[in-house]
């Protein structure tokens, strides 16, 4: 092989390497303020099993005892090799965690780390010719250094790499900036409690944002959908409120809170009273502490539809409940009086 020809080949090879292969970033020195999430030791992924390895690291930080080997059993290998991002998500949920695949940003990553939760990024390490031959790799981000704008990454080689998130942009972007976030159930419950407190303090926009954050990792939470609907209603966003209540009902068609509050919303709107009555009737048919409120809603819908004696009967039934708060009792008495005064249509 002539020297010139070999040199051209080498140049081509180097160009291919630099263009197609993303290497792990060089680690920088963190500042003394750098923080690492406790419970995430430096780890070597066995035989490049980055799926089970990275998931095990993250779950262990939340107190789970699953080893990478344990997780291998529940993380099926995709036909083209490797572990699918979707399977990582499902496995985290199967282990009893709330989790989601989200499109990550610097803000999302910082938020997770600030809350003490490591997260998993998927990076494309090699852009190979042909379909589905690219090489992807899971890495764990488990520390941050605010003064220097660095995050700590574990690529599974037992080394900690402090680097800017932007330095991974070239390999994170082809994977759709996918970020697997994992919350313990206690984390999610605490977030709901914080949102409730914000709501009760009238900090509705903040409560709205926090409920939405919860719903990312716990999308099937009927309570949170209802709470979000309540906040949206208080903010005057009727369409969003209706959507949230309907999402709750899509998950739990018999949920009284969702049935009642959607009926209540439609009553306020005044144009879909038939549907409102159907919902309220279903809500009021269920026993429990909030039944008088559902009867209250039903009675007011009947009143709005001009069925005065029926409405009066419904209010009387609600007033017959024991332990009603004074305000509710007063409201029901007022409604009963109006039902007595109205003329049937």
């Amino acid at each position: 092989m002539g020297g010139r020809r070999a040199a051209r080949l080498a140049a081509l090879a180097l160009a291919m390497l630099s263009g197609c292969v993303s290497l792990a970033p060089r680690s920088r020195t963190p500042s003394p303020e750098a923080r690492v999430i406790p419970g995430v030791p430096l780890t070597v992924f066995e035989q490049d099993r980055c799926g089970p390895g990275s998931l095990s690291m993250v779950l262990r930080a939340h107190g789970d005892t699953a080893s990478a080997r344990d997780l291998e059993a529940v993380l099926p290998e995709a036909p083209g090799r490797g572990v699918l991002s979707v399977d990582m998500l499902i496995a985290a949920r199967q282990r009893g965690f709330d989790a989601a695949l989200v499109t990550g940003t610097a803000e999302t990553v910082r938020g997770e780390l600030a809350a003490g939760r490591p997260a998993i990024l998927m990076l494309r390490l090699l852009d190979a010719p042909g379909a589905r031959r690219d090489i992807y790799h899971y890495v764990v981000v488990d520390g941050f250094d605010t003064p220097r704008g660095l995050c700590r990454f574990q690529f599974g080689d037992g080394k900690a790499r402090w680097a800017r998130l932007e330095s991974l942009e070239g390999s994170w972007k082809p994977a759709g900036h996918v970020l697997l976030v994992v919350w313990s159930l206690a984390d999610t419950d605490a977030a709901i409690a914080r949102a409730l407190a914000l709501e009760s303090q009238g900090r509705l926009e903040e409560a709205d944002a926090l409920y939405r954050e919860v719903l990312v990792v716990r999308p099937e939470s009927v309570r949170t959908w209802v709470n979000l609907g309540n906040v949206a209603a208080d903010l005057g966003r009727r369409a969003e409120s209706e959507t949230a209540y309907r999402r709750a009902l899509a998950i739990a068609p018999d949920d009284r809170d969702a049935l009642n509050n959607l009926a209540w919303l439609l009553l306020g709107e005044g144009t879909r009273l038939e549907e409102a009555e159907t919902l309220a009737t279903k809500a009021a048919s269920q026993p429990g502490a909030d039944r008088p409120l559902a009867l209250d809603t039903l009675g007011r819908i009947q009143l709005a539809r001009g069925r005065c004696p029926e409405a009066a009967g419904t209010f009387r039934e609600a007033l017959g409940a024991e332990g009603l708060p004074d305000a509710t009792r007063a409201g029901l008495r007022d409604a009963l009086r109006q039902a007595g005064e109205c003329r049937p249509r």
Binding site: L9, P219, L293
Partner: protein, 120 residues
């Protein structure tokens, strides 16, 4: 009819309308609540209404060589929101790990070519 009489009529008609049509204003909504312990955390989330998103994700999974049954097993465990997010960014449906051996061979060849070029 003078102005006072007209005003009186308006008030009377409004009161009559309120008595006949409008519901009392103080209807109560059921307040927001905390999550009941372990409530509604179903493993199977097969309540998918976003059929388009479901199809897109199914196609992305099929492109990775999964069978129809394997795809279904995954889809039933994803919520509408999961599917919607993934369908909006199908690059996120990838498999990672297990670097195939040919990559090391390829890199070895490239390295050898580079060394040859440096020597000659």
């Amino acid at each position: 009819m003078d102005r006072t009489q007209a005003r009186g009529l308006v008030v009377l008609l409004s009161a009559a309308w309120l008595a006949v049509v409008a519901p009392p204003a103080a209807a109560e909504r059921i307040a927001s609540k905390a999550e009941a312990p372990a409530a509604s955390r179903a493993a199977d989330l097969a309540r998918v209404s976003d059929v388009v998103a479901r199809d897109h994700v199914a196609q992305a999974l099929a492109a990775h060589g999964l069978t129809a049954q394997q795809i279904e097993e995954r889809l039933v465990r994803l919520s509408d929101d999961d599917l919607h997010r993934l369908a909006a960014n199908l690059d996120q449906v990838q498999a990672a790990g297990n670097v195939p051996n040919y990559i090391w061979i390829l890199l070895g060849i490239l390295l050898a070519v580079t060394i040859v070029a440096a020597v000659f």
